[in-house]
Symmetry: C2
Subunit: 198 residues, 2 copies
Amino acid sequence: MKVIVIGATGTIGRAIVQAIGNRHEVIPASFGRSAIKVDIADKASVTKMFETTGRVDAVISAAGLAKFGPMTSLTDADFALGLNNKLMGQVNVVRLGIDHINDNGSITLTSGILSRRPMKGSTAISLVNSALEGFGRAAALEMPRGIRINVISPNWVTDTLKAFNMDPSIGTLVEAVAQAYVRALEGTMNGEVLDAIK
Amino acid sequence: MKVIVIGATGTIGRAIVQAIGNRHEVIPASFGRSAIKVDIADKASVTKMFETTGRVDAVISAAGLAKFGPMTSLTDADFALGLNNKLMGQVNVVRLGIDHINDNGSITLTSGILSRRPMKGSTAISLVNSALEGFGRAAALEMPRGIRINVISPNWVTDTLKAFNMDPSIGTLVEAVAQAYVRALEGTMNGEVLDAIK
């Protein structure tokens, strides 16, 4: 399969590329550090990416920005970042990508554990992650030509917890998170939210 | 308690006002047909509403627009309607309302069953409803002064199904839906998503 991985240079994206290995042809894309550059918040950029890659069998998105911080400190712009970037950026990858994906292909998006296990400071992110999961469940009912869509809702990645000086023992190894994307890519599930906890 | 009901003239809002009855002081607000007019998509309008009402003990929102239709037919503006109106409109009722709500008061928002039981044509609405539920769960962790927040995720209302020529037998009577709002108003739950199915 020919598989675009958006966010290929991020913590999870790198692990996805590694987990796919040589079994499929990976086309890495990212905001700044891949040969194919894409800003998911910009529809024209997403369209250009698909024009560059040509038709593919699958798109995996492990990209998207949203703002963490106390609800009373979050500005309109902070909420808009999550809505325009992580949420509608990924929704637009679906809307614009469908016509560039082969029959029986797949799209895999990324939400995150804060959808169902919020914490103080997560209002804008929990909102976006939950929205992606609701969108994915609904979009699965309308995908044409056997194309599947799933949402990976990863637990905290161990390395991320370490970077934030949080307890890494509650996390999941990024290699295990990446396997959830591989399962969505190579499996038959549709409209599922995979929590990537093995 | 002094309770603002936003969307007081809608199908569910009317039933909420009726269910509250004379046990509390209801202040009806709506886009066009109440003494207090409010456009939840307009922050200035929400602020003006709270300035008009003065401090209250509770705010119930049963308002918000989002677009139903096939995903491939939905425009950017259709998605934006749900994001700006039903989603951020209600989120902004919380953000702007907190300072106008008395200690140990409550906020109750409205999502809907399409968050967890999508149907063809519901992508934009499922997205918004799920987002509201994720936001509510997270916001509950940060509400000050004992203020509670809950989200009612009503099943289809029987009358709505009839109006859409759908099978009314899968629906819930609006009186039963309204009771979920009363439970959220008078109960002690916080951060819950109530499905309003009795």
